[in-house]
């Protein structure tokens, strides 16, 4: 077991302690302890298959949808154990939103895509209220000006980058406290990627953001804190600038300098 860096952050929104994840017999995550800071963007980096996405999915219990997955340890959101029986998974996922690797807008109109979350959670009291939420979410996602005249068009008719911003807008619409992003730019071209990165900057502070990426430049650009995962363990966690300039672990250094990965 690796001697990991201090998992603590000054103002944690979520914290994980001694988390293990198993898929059937196989252990995918080993003893990970980490805090997610409220005011910062946290990046999870590491070679593919290192468990960073798996760990991300334990933070809003998306692993529940995999029958063979089992999670041990403790993960809290504002001090509340999210795996306790008192935690409602539906509410948890409303509070901890998620954006996926490939844009996955529903085959509905742009409006209905954004309104989906507020509708199911009953967040809008009237049609005007809902319109308001849709507009503000689309504005925050930086998509409003591009789609305001065609809210009735299908969400799947947008370009890849627009679809991904739509998905971010969809997550924002339920006013989550944390947004988890699982390699949100891996399916996008550089221009669309730049827009998403700017969006992440703009959203920082308002939501705690965790982004999984295999692109180290991206991690360096968007995040304030970086965690390096390798073979299912958390190798190093710290302030991004330090991780990239002065890693304490040899494996981190090797990875960042492109020796493997």
């Amino acid at each position: 077991m690796t001697d990991i860096s201090n998992p603590k952050t000054p103002n944690p929104k979520m914290s994980a302690r001694n988390v293990n994840v198993y898929y059937g017999e196989k252990q995918a995550i080993q003893n990970v302890s980490i805090d997610v800071d409220t005011d910062n963007v946290t990046a999870f980096i590491g070679p593919s298959g290192c468990g960073k996405s798996t760990f991300l999915r334990t933070l809003n219990r998306m692993n529940d949808t995999v029958a063979s997955a089992r999670v041990t340890g403790e993960i809290t959101l504002d001090g509340e154990d999210i795996y306790s029986s008192g935690m409602d998974v539906v509410q948890l996922r409303a509070r901890v939103g998620m954006v996926f690797q490939k844009p996955n807008p529903f085959p509905k109109s742009i409006y209905d895509n954004i309104a989906y979350g507020p509708r199911i959670h009953g967040l809008a009291s009237s049609k005007a209220d809902l319109d308001q939420i849709v507009e503000s979410s689309l504005r925050r996602a930086g998509l409003w000006d591009e789609v305001k005249d065609r809210l009735k068009d299908s969400g799947t008719a947008l370009s890849g980058g627009q679809q991904q911003r739509l998905c971010i807008g969809r997550a924002i619409a339920v006013e989550p406290e944390v947004i988890l992003m699982d390699e949100p730019c891996s399916a996008l071209d550089p221009i669309a990627t730049a827009k998403i990165e700017e969006l992440i900057h703009a959203l920082r502070g308002r939501y705690a953001i965790v982004i999984v990426t295999h692109n180290m430049q991206q991690a360096a650009r968007v995040s304030q804190r970086t965690a390096f995962f390798h073979l299912g363990t958390l190798v190093e966690y710290g302030v991004t600038s330090e991780i990239f300039t002065n890693p304490r672990e040899l494996r981190t250094k090797d990875y960042i300098t492109g020796r493997y990965g």
Binding site: D88, V90, Q91, A94, R95, I120, H121, G122, L123, I133, S136, R139, R140, A141, G142, L143, W144, R165, V174, E175, I191, A194, K195, E198, L199, A202
Partner: protein, 424 residues
């Protein structure tokens, strides 16, 4: 490129997840979830329940069809007015010798002696059983024998507490004397159609099904496999190939009765093949089954990875050798599974066979594929139309036999699929 800096927005108040209204809403959503889930389960349970209802009611009605009520009768052969030499029954003219005796009057007389006025409850065809008993063992002619003869359909129903008052009273009377009992009705499996429900059997229809299925298999299997091989391995992409594919896909969805019309118009009225024969039935069903085999065959062939073909071609095999040495053997289990499923469908098919006259009354099993024949499902259909109440259990019993066969065939198909299914 403009930065998507969000324009200032009025902040929404943070959602109060712990509030009473939200908790109530969540509870409502969860109960909707439970209701929906229960609805899904209900749908499945209803479907399965219907199947169970069907099977149980068939078993309930049909199991009795495999038994019959018999009346024990003493027949004093030596004093009976028949002239029959037991030795002649062991000679070649046994049938002629048997035919010379009036078994009916012999049986009637014995019934009068044994049962008195209750002799009416003996099956009208009981004399056949007497004759067969003598044929089977000529030595009974020299002694007083007790034979178990079939009771009439009405008494049989009474034995199952389903008869007329009169018959039930008679049954109670006979039961007290210990003359009646229930026995396995072996003749149900060996006899053919008839007019008396106590006498009918499924062997004739079953043999008709066997002959028909043989013709179907011999035609549809080779043609289906060859067509599948051609389409999957060799066919050039052109309009003809498209037409063949469209034809096959559509044929697989054409209602079966249309094949019956085709059989009637082409095989019977144009080619003048024999009516009601297993040959025509088999031909018609073969046309229906072939698309099923082609589609299953193509899927099985498609599942053989191209690397196998490349490997064989790479060592200099010709395209025909590649297919017959490598692809076909690997695809065969899949093709067999599809064939069995197609054959099971053909075995249960009724409508097209009605069109080509296989609904004839066939009292003796067909001798060959050109003899008039009927098949098991058509026999079921014919019996279901009979007014006599005794046919209800016979119909259900025939259904049990048919279902048992289909179940067997499908089990073999599933077994083959599981045993030979290969993941590449």
């Amino acid at each position: 490129m403009t930065a998507p800096v969000p324009s200032p927005q009025p902040d929404r108040a943070p959602t109060d997840w712990k509030g009473a209204a939200m908790q109530k809403r969540i509870a409502a959503r969860y109960s909707a979830e439970r209701r929906f889930r229960t609805l899904g389960l209900t749908a499945i349970v209803m479907s399965a329940g219907f199947l169970a209802y069907l099977l149980i009611s068939m078993l309930h009605d049909g199991l009795a069809g495999f038994t019959r009520t018999e009346i024990a009768m003493r027949i004093d052969f030596p004093t009976a007015p028949i002239v029959l030499d037991p030795a002649s029954l062991r000679s070649a003219n046994a049938d002629a010798a048997l035919a010379s005796v009036n078994w009916q009057s012999l049986t009637d007389q014995a019934a009068q002696e044994n049962l008195g006025k209750d002799s009416i409850w003996l099956a009208p065809s009981a004399w056949v059983a007497v004759r067969d008993a003598v044929k089977h063992d000529p030595s009974v002619l020299q002694k007083v024998a007790t034979l178990n003869l079939p009771a009439s359909a009405e008494l049989d129903l009474a034995a199952k507490s389903d008869g007329s008052d009169e018959a039930e009273a008679a049954y109670a009377r006979l039961d007290k004397t210990g003359l009646v009992h229930r026995a396995v009705n072996w003749s149900f499996l060996t006899a053919s159609d008839g007019t008396d429900p106590t006498q009918v059997g499924i062997w004739g229809a079953f043999k008709g099904s066997l002959l028909t299925m043989t013709v179907t298999l011999l035609l549809s299997f080779p043609i289906g496999v060859l067509a599948a091989l051609y389409l999957e391995e060799y066919a050039p992409r052109n309009r003809w190939t498209d037409m063949i594919e469209v034809s096959i896909n559509n044929l697989a969805a054409v209602p079966s009765i249309i094949f019956g019309l085709l059989g009637l118009a082409v095989f019977l009225n144009t080619l003048h093949l024999p009516r009601s024969a297993a040959l025509v039935g088999g031909l018609t069903l073969a046309l229906m089954t072939m698309p099923v085999i082609v589609i299953a065959g193509r899927n099985a062939i498609k599942a053989v990875p191209p690397s196998i073909r490349d490997a064989a071609l790479g060592i200099g095999a010709s395209p025909v050798q590649v297919v017959f040495h490598h692809v076909l053997p690997l695809a065969l289990p899949g093709i067999m599974t599809g064939t069995i499923i197609g054959m099971a469908r053909a075995l249960g098919e009724t409508a097209p066979l009605l069109m080509i006259g296989m609904r004839a009354f066939i009292a003796s099993p067909p001798g060959g594929i050109t003899d008039p024949a009927t098949v098991l499902p058509v026999q079921i259909f014919l019996w279901s139309d009979e007014v006599s109440k005794g046919f209800v259990e016979k119909t259900s019993a025939a259904i049990i036999v048919l279902l048992a066969f289909l179940l067997g065939m499908n089990s073999i198909a599933i077994y083959l699929r599981n045993k030979f299914e290969r993941r590449w």
